[in-house]
């Protein structure tokens, strides 16, 4: 004997319910967002969530421009630029933030590796940039002194 009529209609109802939920919130379910990386409380964990365990080295080929002193930690301007070929991703971190990963950029084929972004810094600390090129990660960082913390 197959499934009962009751079971059959229950399963259809369940499918309709989940389909209607998905149509109301399509963006939330299908938007790409690396929650593991953005929620990591430690910078190295966030790096691992983003890039796995690729070999990493410090690099002077990534130019990171930040103010030495930020009057307002809520608005710290960061610029990143590099002449290194083959960069496919650049991520910006504020080491002393509750969740260090601030933003991650895909460096798409037509993009130049020149970016600027205003970030929040909770307190004085390092702004860290990681660039991925090939199967290697390249790191640079600079200390920013923050006069007034930016996380409310």
């Amino acid at each position: 004997m197959g499934i009962s009529r009751r079971q059959f209609f229950r399963s259809i109802a369940g499918t309709f319910l989940s389909l209607s939920v998905m149509s109301v919130f399509p963006e939330r379910l299908f938007a790409r967002w690396n929650a593991g990386a953005f929620k990591a409380g430690k910078l190295d964990d966030a790096v691992r969530e983003l890039y796995g365990t690729l070999p990493e080295e410090d690099s002077s080929s990534i130019e990171l421009t930040v103010p030495e002193i930020a009057d307002d930690g809520a608005f710290v301007p960061v610029s990143v630029s590099s002449g290194m070929p083959g960069i496919t991703s650049i991520s910006i971190f504020s080491e002393t933030n509750f969740s260090p990963l601030v933003a991650s950029f895909d460096i798409l084929p037509r993009m130049r590796p020149n970016l600027s972004l205003r970030i929040r810094m909770a307190e004085t600390g390092k702004v860290v940039v990681i660039a991925k090129a090939g199967d290697r990660l390249y790191r640079t960082s600079k200390l920013v002194v923050v006069s007034v913390g930016g996380c409310g």
């Binding site: 953005f38 809520a74 933003a103």
Partner: protein
């Protein structure tokens, strides 16, 4: 969204300002209640159907995100389409002209 996209020798420099509260979810209001997290999670830009920018943002991006990027292969008169999504499912998508210097 406020966008300025300028083409010089087919290299386009784009500056954007997206008004958005970018609440971290850790701030307390006057009454001592936590203001829920509300922030842009993803921004995309495309030109002639090709993606020319894609970024994931978290609550560490400042309120009213202000950012800039550059891409190749577009001329003044072309159109740049920019869209964003936030963690509450809101989104916006608009076209902007690429202008000459």
């Amino acid at each position: 969204m406020k966008v300025k996209a300028v083409a010089v020798n087919e290299v386009v420099s784009v500056k954007l300002l997206i008004p958005h509260p970018m609440e971290t979810g850790r701030r307390k209001d006057q009454g001592g209640n936590i203001v829920p997290a509300h922030f842009i999670t993803e921004v995309t830009a495309s030109h002639k159907g090709q993606e020319v920018f894609h970024a994931e943002f978290g609550p560490g991006v400042s309120r009213d995100p202000f950012f800039a990027f550059q891409f190749d292969g577009a001329k003044a008169g072309d159109t740049l389409t920019i869209s964003w999504v936030d963690n509450k499912g809101s989104s916006e998508k608009s076209d902007f002209p690429i202008v000459a210097m």
